[in-house]
């Protein structure tokens, strides 16, 4: 069964580029173009991974979503791949450093634009790690 991914990002052109790569790689992809719709989708459907933009709407609304997810018993274990164009805010990003105090281990962060092979690698790795975690707790 194809893995399901939700993208929450307010730039439709950017989403088109990301979505078609994931489509080609065999994922089933849904899109929400604003945080509100995104949260509704997350509640009503089941996804294997969330691709999340940070700067949306009035500011860093992506961070708010990430925070809410961590408090949600049902969605807490869903991996989140953060995709951001805000290079200046993460300029001091070094391998092995925590991404941001607000994010947790199941999160990863990549910069826009994302190379297709890197994107697919990260997505697969995050989904697999989540499945392993799930199998262990059962």
């Amino acid at each position: 069964m194809a893995k399901r991914i939700l993208i929450i990002d307010d730039d439709p052109d950017f989403v088109a580029g990301i979505k078609s790569i994931l489509d080609t790689a065999g994922f089933e992809v849904d899109v929400a173009y604003d945080p509100k719709t995104g949260q509704k989708e997350l509640q009503s459907q089941t996804y294997d991974l969330l691709l999340l933009d940070i700067m949306m709407g009035r500011g860093a609304e992506g961070v708010m979503i990430a925070r809410k997810l961590r408090k949600d018993a049902k969605l807490r274990e869903m991996p989140v791949l953060i995709i951001t164009g805000m290079r200046e805010q993460i300029a001091f990003l070094f391998p092995g450093e925590p991404i941001h105090p607000r994010f947790v281990e199941v999160d990863e962060l990549v910069e826009k634009p994302v190379e297709p092979t890197m994107l697919i690698e990260k997505v697969n790795a995050l989904i697999q790690a989540a499945e392993v975690r799930k199998a262990l707790t059962q």
């Binding site: 730039d11 088109a16 580029g17 805000m86 200046e88 634009p113």
Partner: protein
Amino acid sequence: MHSKPKILIIDDEEVVLDSCIQILGGESFQVSTALNGSDGLRLVQELQPDLVIVDLKMPGISGFEVLDRLEEIDPTIVMIVITGFATVSSAVDAMKKGAYDFLPKPFSPEEFRIIIRRGLEKRKLILETIMLRHEKELLREHFAHIVSHELKAPLNAVQQNIFALEFELSGVLNEDQKEKLVRIKVRMEDLLKIIDSWLRIISVNIEELEKNFSPIQMTTPIYKALENIETIATRKNVEIVSSFGVKLHPVWGDVLSLSEAFVNIIGNAIQYSRDGSKVIVKAEENGTDILVTIKDFGIGIPKEDLPHIFEGFFRVKSGQAAPTGHGIGLVVSRQIIEAHSGSITVESETGTGTAFYIRLPKYFIEKSNKS
């Protein structure tokens, strides 16, 4: 100063106050007076004058004390002293306390008018400078916003779609078509890199950096930087030869921002190195400094470019190209190093190579008392 300039005169002699009012009479100024220092200071709070004239010799609070308090209340107020005992030393003392000018008694109406005019001109300049500084800050913020949102977001979307196209058409495109896509991708990547560097230049906030300072080993940020650019060095087949003095004296700084500076400088050295050559990274004690040397044996920097490689694009004179050739990263690096009270210098010869010298003062305990 759109409304009438406000002038306050503090003098214990009523005759002086009256004649001053007479000289300044008419519609152009709003003149207030006080017969002693404490009344004068009260009026300052109330009126917020542009210019205050203070007699140095008064009963009660002395003129010097009034100057001190005025400076505390509002350092942008222009202060002029009048003095009956027109000795050079009292005038000099008054100037040291921040007075803009002094007028010895007795003075002619013309002398008084001239000094008032100059004082108000000074006040205007002070206010304009404050306003310009504020505008510059706003502009910087707006510029950062425009660059990141209006410029970067569309480019990201374009590049992402090119990635998608290339990915989906990988089995269909012929070599010629693939090459075209590569050209588009590479140019797009260059553009995005330049925007990132600009964003870094405008968003390096030196005051923010200083908040994270602590005594550190200079080798810590260097190791971090080396770890970060190892892959680039391997890809370019450049060997990094590092040698660090044993147990170096600590420096006062922030590991992350310093490693960013070293990533930029070492990265540059690798980028301009020849395939198979070496980059030397050395850290040692040098007098009161810790000296880091980063030396490559690459193409070198042309003499005419050398004085400009650390300049921000703001400072580049018209007609001169921005320092894109050797990376805007060097500008950010310089800002970071200078925020650490350090310095960066460069020696280079075309065809032979380039050496960067980074000096940071050794950290001693007394220094922390300053903050």
